[in-house]
Each structure stands twice: as structure tokens, then as C-alpha cells.
């Protein structure tokens, strides 16, 4: 019981970067754009965020810089798929490969430097509640920001005018264009938002989750975030559920490794990846095959004159 709030808090910390990156990609995909560069944007966010935090001696500035770096990379993606109408799968892959290299270059001088934790935010009164107070109402500010982002994305996509236009563009870019909607401009916003959040998620990894920079530290989290978006099948609440489930698996897996339960550690490390496949399989068996993906997802948009 003593351990419970602590364990819950680590689950939230492990889940938050997945949640943030997946929320961003969710918005991008709702607009009909598949950006496979999440992993690349995330790791560049992690490296840039850490480097900026060390250089300015401010973790908050670092997090901001990381988010902006992710957005900058997504701008390259936007240029490619919106102006040149390139294949989105290949472009996203290129972005990830490029991002992994770029992050290595940026983080070069910062490997192994430790970084102090950001002081936690305590919600007055609520943080005094036993168990939940320490688990939910005490946390880093990005965790609370991620909660706000859930609300913002859910409200934005379902209730706001811009969100409805964005989804219309995603469902059928041809019809949206015929109606006179600025397809490319709306998609640009969606792509940049996805990049901003992927970068933020990366900065969270290096500045809050591990508090050091090491090459390749995103370790496939960007890809898992992409899988979460598929798993969400269009619903933000399923995305949130999926992210926290994955946070739970990550933490359970780490505890199992520390507890030496006889299974090889490599098998436990492989669990998040295997669970991703299992989750997609579950989604399919439960009869939601291909459900929820935006109608124009991944198709290049070249308006006819």
C-alpha cells in the first residue's frame, strides 16, 4: 500500500510521453495525413530539449525548445507531402531516419550528463488525499499539461469549428476542396501540431522521464504512439486508455526485470512491442477492422484545376 502511489505515479510518467505523441499524431491523422516520422521528431525533441536545458540551465526552456524542434522537423514533412505531394509512408520513414541522425549530432556533447528533476506541482488540497493525492494530484507540470491536452484535442476535434473542418478534410480531401476548404492550410496546422506534441513528448523523455540524454533513447516509443492512434480508432478516450495501459506494461516489465522472476530480461523488454501487435490484433478480432481511420488517410492530395 505504501508503494501504490509511487507505482501509479511511475505509470503516469511512463505513459505521458506516449500519450502526448499519440494525441499529436491523432490530430494529424484526423486531417488525413499519416506521419510515420513520430519516432524521429520525438528523438530530436529529446536531444534538443536536453541540450537547450543544459545550455540555458532551465528545464522549462528545454521542454519548449524540444517541442519547437519537433515542430521544425514536421515542417519539413509538411513541405514534402503538401507541396511536393510525396508518398507519405516513405517521407515519414525518411523523417525518422534523418531525425535519429540529427538527434545524435545535437546530443553529441551531452551524453551522460545528469539533470535535476523539475520540482513537482502539487494541486492544493487534492494532493492531500491518500494514495490518489500522491499519484494523480502531484506531478510535473507537463503531466498536467497532457491532461489539459486530452481535453483540448477531444473538444477541438468534436466541438470546435476548426476541428470539424479538419476532420472533413481528412475524410475526403476531394470533397473538402470542392467545398472551398483550404485543404493544405488545414493539413499544415495539423502536421505542425503533431510535430509540436511529438517534440514535447521527446523532451519529456530526456528531461523528466530519464533525466539524461542517450542516443536512441526513444526506443520505438514513436512507433508505439502510432500504433496507439490505430488502436484509438478515432476515439480520444481509447487513445488515453491505451497510453495508460502501455505505461502500466512498461512499469510492470521493469519491476519484473528488477524482481528477477526467471524470465530472460530480453523477453520482458520485448513485451511492449509484442503487446503493441497483440493490441492491434485484439482490435481486429473485436470487429473494428480498419474502423476509425480517416477516409483520405495517407493519400497524396493533388487538386485538379
Amino acid at each position: 500500500m505504501e508503494m501504490l502511489p509511487f507505482i501509479l505515479a511511475t505509470v503516469f510518467t511512463a505513459a505521458t510521453p506516449l500519450l502526448i505523441a499519440a494525441l499529436g499524431e491523432h490530430v494529424t491523422e484526423r486531417a488525413g495525413v499519416l506521419n510515420l516520422g513520430v519516432e524521429g521528431m520525438m528523438i530530436v525533441g529529446a536531444a534538443t530539449g536536453f541540450a537547450a536545458a543544459v545550455l540555458t540551465d532551465s528545464s522549462v526552456l528545454g521542454i519548449l525548445a524540444g517541442a519547437l524542434a519537433g515542430m521544425a522537423l514536421s515542417a519539413v514533412f509538411a513541405l514534402m507531402v503538401l507541396v511536393f505531394a510525396t508518398n507519405q509512408v516513405a517521407t515519414g520513414l525518411a523523417l525518422t531516419i534523418m531525425g535519429l541522425g540529427l538527434a545524435g549530432l545535437i546530443g553529441q556533447g551531452f551524453v551522460g550528463q545528469p539533470r535535476a528533476a523539475i520540482p513537482p506541482v502539487k494541486i492544493p488540497l487534492l494532493s492531500e488525499i491518500p494514495v490518489l493525492g500522491k499519484a494523480i494530484f502531484t506531478g510535473d507540470f507537463v503531466f498536467f499539461l497532457s491532461l489539459a491536452l486530452i481535453g483540448f484535442v477531444a473538444w477541438g476535434l468534436n466541438r470546435s469549428r476548426f476541428g470539424l473542418l479538419l476532420r472533413a478534410v481528412g475524410e475526403s480531401h476531394g470533397s473538402a476542396h470542392a467545398l472551398g476548404l483550404p485543404v493544405k492550410r488545414i493539413r499544415l496546422v495539423a502536421i505542425l501540431f503533431g510535430g509540436l506534441l511529438a517534440g514535447l513528448a521527446g523532451a519529456y523523455l530526456s528531461l523528466i522521464y530519464t533525466r539524461f540524454w542517450s542516443p536512441g533513447m526513444s526506443a520505438g516509443r514513436g512507433w508505439i504512439a502510432l500504433a496507439l492512434v490505430v488502436f484509438a480508432a478515432g476515439h480520444v478516450w481509447r487513445l488515453v486508455l491505451g497510453a495508460y495501459l502501455f505505461g502500466g506494461i512498461t512499469v510492470a516489465q521493469l519491476h519484473a526485470q528488477a524482481g528477477a522472476i526467471g524470465l530472460p530480461s530480453q523477453f520482458l523488454s520485448a513485451l511492449p512491442y509484442l503487446m503493441t501487435i497483440a493490441a492491434l490484433l485484439f482490435l481486429s478480432i473485436s470487429g473494428r477492422k480498419g474502423a476509425g481511420a480517416a477516409g483520405s488517410l495517407g493519400q497524396p492530395f493533388v487538386p485538379e484545376r
Binding site: L36, G40, V76, M80, L82, V83, F84, A85, T86, N87, V89, A90, T91, L93, A94, L95, T96, I97, M98, G99, L100, G101, L102, A103, G104, L105, Q108, P182, K184, R185, P215, A219, G220, W223, L226, A227, V230, P264, Q266, F267, S269, A270, Y273, L274, T276, I277, L280, L281, S284, I285, K289, G290, V302, P303, R305
Partner: protein
């Protein structure tokens, strides 16, 4: 703000343009790369010398280039089948590792034995390993409609961990001072150099043979046509009676098998034992090779050689210029972007417009 750029489809694309596009993309990427080297405070001229001239003029390095191009050629030829069919196998790295593990497994199991049957058996095992691993995303797509992109990629991480487990656990060399590596393969399990004192082995010739077969399949066979049709006009391909699921499975088996073969050749001909990290990301680099070669077998063969030159150059640049390998990785991603933009300009004309879109 408005997008004043519009894409206008070209009626036809001349052959010269088709050939020049990837070359131009490479030149642009090299110029940007040079700029970054300059920003990093190194001499771009020296970098070009190390990356491009040295591997081509030094006979020892030239052999290394051919060796490095072997897995790239094999994997990218396989990927062409997938990409042409619009199937996205991006987990060739994992299939490459499984090929090495299966092939290497045979070498370890037959350790101490000799005979001309060992190498062919290793090859078969390598191909089988890659095929089995590639079949997973194909079956998941066919049977359950799951995106092959995510599953094939996830399996790369699993393959890396499997290799790590094997060489630290059951397959660790008892005399290896606790290093995570298998026993060194005996001569019977290693591809031997083609000539005295050299390093080049028969794997390269095999890769060229595969290129030749791929050319014939795409130019002359019904299957090659079915693959292209399925990618370019899936509905038409369906009406023509080409079974969509069978094509998915077969292109995955081809690319997985070739990646597996490449993995076995890498382990047997280059490394001489199993150890973590023998993949070197070649399975991902091969994706870039496939696109640089415009998804044609001849193109893939040529671009394998080009990329191999750059990779060998990168290895020596790490030592002589202290340029980190991450620079090369960044360059590869950027090159792919340049190639894709070039492809687009091949198909469309960019037109500047006054009015807003």
C-alpha cells in the same frame, strides 16, 4: 498566407529525366551534407575526398565497397517487390537479423564438423528465417487487416532482443571471456574469399544473380506484372483475377527471404560469428537504396554501390575526420527526402500561381 505552388501532371517523362532525377537528388543531398560538414567546422573538400574518392581509388576499400553493397543489393531487391506492390515492409532489418540468427544457428549446431553441405544448409536456414519472420506481418495483414507497417517495424525490436538473448544466453561462447558473442565459425561455415589474400566472397556474385533474376521477373513474368498492377491499380488487378492476399504473402516472402539470405551472408562472410549489432541498420538503409534506384532492379544495383561507397567513406571519416556516424544517418534520411521530392518533380511540374489555392 497561401500556397502559390501547384503541381501540374506531366504528360510523359523522358528517359533522360528518369535517369537524371536520382543523380540530381544525390548531388543536392551531397551539397547540403557538405554545408553541414562546413557548419560543423570541418573542411567539406576533405570530407568529399574521404567519403567519395578514397573508397573508389584504394583497392582494399573497393573490395569493402563490394562487400558492403552485397546485403544492400539483396535486401533492396526484395523490398522493390513489396514497394512496387504498394505493400510496406519496413522491417527488413528484423528479417535480416533472423536470417543471420538461423544461418548462424546452423553454423553453431554443426560446429566442429566439416563438409561442403554446411554452407548451403546455412543459406537455406537464413532464407527460411527471413521468410518466416516476414510472413508474420503478411499473415496479420491478410487475415486480420492489421497494418503491415507497424507490425513489421515492431518485429525489428523483437529481433534485436532475440539476438541479444541468444548471444548472452544459450549461444554464448564459453571461451569468449563473457563477451556477448557466439563461438567463431569454422572455415566450413564461412564464405571463403574468391582470391588469395582478398576478402571478397561469393555473396557478391549471388547478389548480382538475384538482380538478374529480378530484372527478368519484372520484365517477362506474369507475376512481375501482377505485382506492378496490384500496386498501381489495385482494383484493376483484382478484376484481372490477381489474388490480392496471395500477392501480399508472396512479396513479403520474397523480401523476407532475400533479407534473410543477406543476413546469413553477412554473418558467414563478414562477421564470422553472431554478435549484437551485426545488423548495422542495413535493413533500413536498403529502403533508401530501393527508392534511390527508383524501385527498379538495375537502379537498386547501382544505388547499392553508391550507398556502399558512402558507408565505407563514413567508416573512415569517423577515424580520420572525427565525423560521427550520425552525420551519415542524417544524410541518408535527407537523401531519401531529396529522392522523393525529385520523383514528384518527375511526375509533376511545379507551377507558381498568383491566386490562392
Amino acid at each position: 498566407m497561401s500556397f502559390n505552388l501547384a503541381l501540374v501532371p506531366r504528360r510523359e517523362v523522358s528517359l533522360i529525366r528518369q535517369v537524371l532525377t536520382p543523380v540530381l537528388a544525390l548531388v543536392v543531398a551531397l551539397l547540403i551534407g557538405g554545408l553541414i560538414v562546413w557548419l560543423m567546422g570541418r573542411s567539406p573538400a576533405k570530407a568529399f575526398d574521404v567519403f567519395l574518392r578514397e573508397p573508389l581509388t584504394d583497392p582494399w576499400a573497393l573490395q569493402e565497397v563490394l562487400l558492403k553493397s552485397t546485403p544492400l543489393m539483396l535486401i533492396s531487391i526484395g523490398l522493390i517487390f513489396c514497394f512496387r506492390a504498394n505493400r510496406w515492409n519496413i522491417g527488413a532489418e528484423g528479417q535480416f537479423l533472423l536470417g543471420g540468427i538461423f544461418g548462424g544457428g546452423v553454423a553453431i549446431a554443426t560446429h566442429g564438423l566439416a563438409g561442403p553441405w554446411i554452407l548451403p544448409l546455412m543459406m537455406l536456414a537464413g532464407v527460411a528465417g527471413g521468410m518466416l519472420y516476414a510472413a508474420i506481418p503478411a499473415v496479420l495483414r491478410n487475415r486480420f487487416g492489421i497494418s503491415e507497417i507497424l507490425t513489421s517495424l515492431m518485429l525489428v525490436y523483437v529481433a534485436e532482443l532475440l539476438l541479444d538473448y541468444l548471444v548472452r544466453g544459450p549461444w554464448r561462447d564459453p571461451k569468449g571471456f563473457n563477451f556477448p558473442q557466439s563461438v567463431p565459425f569454422t572455415d566450413a561455415a564461412q564464405l571463403q574469399p574468391l582470391f588469395e589474400g582478398g576478402r571478397l566472397h561469393a555473396g557478391f556474385a549471388l547478389a548480382l544473380l538475384v538482380v538478374l533474376v529480378a530484372i527478368l521477373v519484372f520484365r517477362r513474368s506474369l507475376f512481375g506484372f501482377a505485382v506492378k498492377a496490384s500496386g498501381e491499380a489495385p482494383r484493376a488487378a483484382n478484376f484481372a483475377g490477381f489474388n490480392e492476399m496471395r500477392i501480399t504473402l508472396v512479396v513479403f516472402l520474397i523480401s523476407g527471404g532475400l533479407a534473410g539470405l543477406a543476413g546469413m551472408i553477412e554473418v558467414s562472410g563478414q562477421v564470422g560469428q553472431l554478435r549484437p549489432g551485426f545488423g548495422q541498420g542495413l535493413g533500413f538503409t536498403a529502403i533508401i537504396v530501393a527508392f534511390l534506384g527508383r524501385l527498379s532492379p538495375v537502379g537498386a544495383m547501382l544505388s547499392s554501390l553508391v550507398i556502399a561507397v558512402l558507408l565505407i567513406g563514413a567508416e573512415s571519416a569517423q577515424v580520420s575526420l572525427k565525423l560521427p556516424f550520425d552525420l551519415t544517418r542524417f544524410f541518408m534520411g535527407m537523401l531519401l527526402l531529396c529522392v522523393l521530392a525529385g520523383e514528384s518533380l518527375n511526375r509533376y511540374r511545379l507551377e507558381f500561381r498568383k491566386e490562392t489555392a
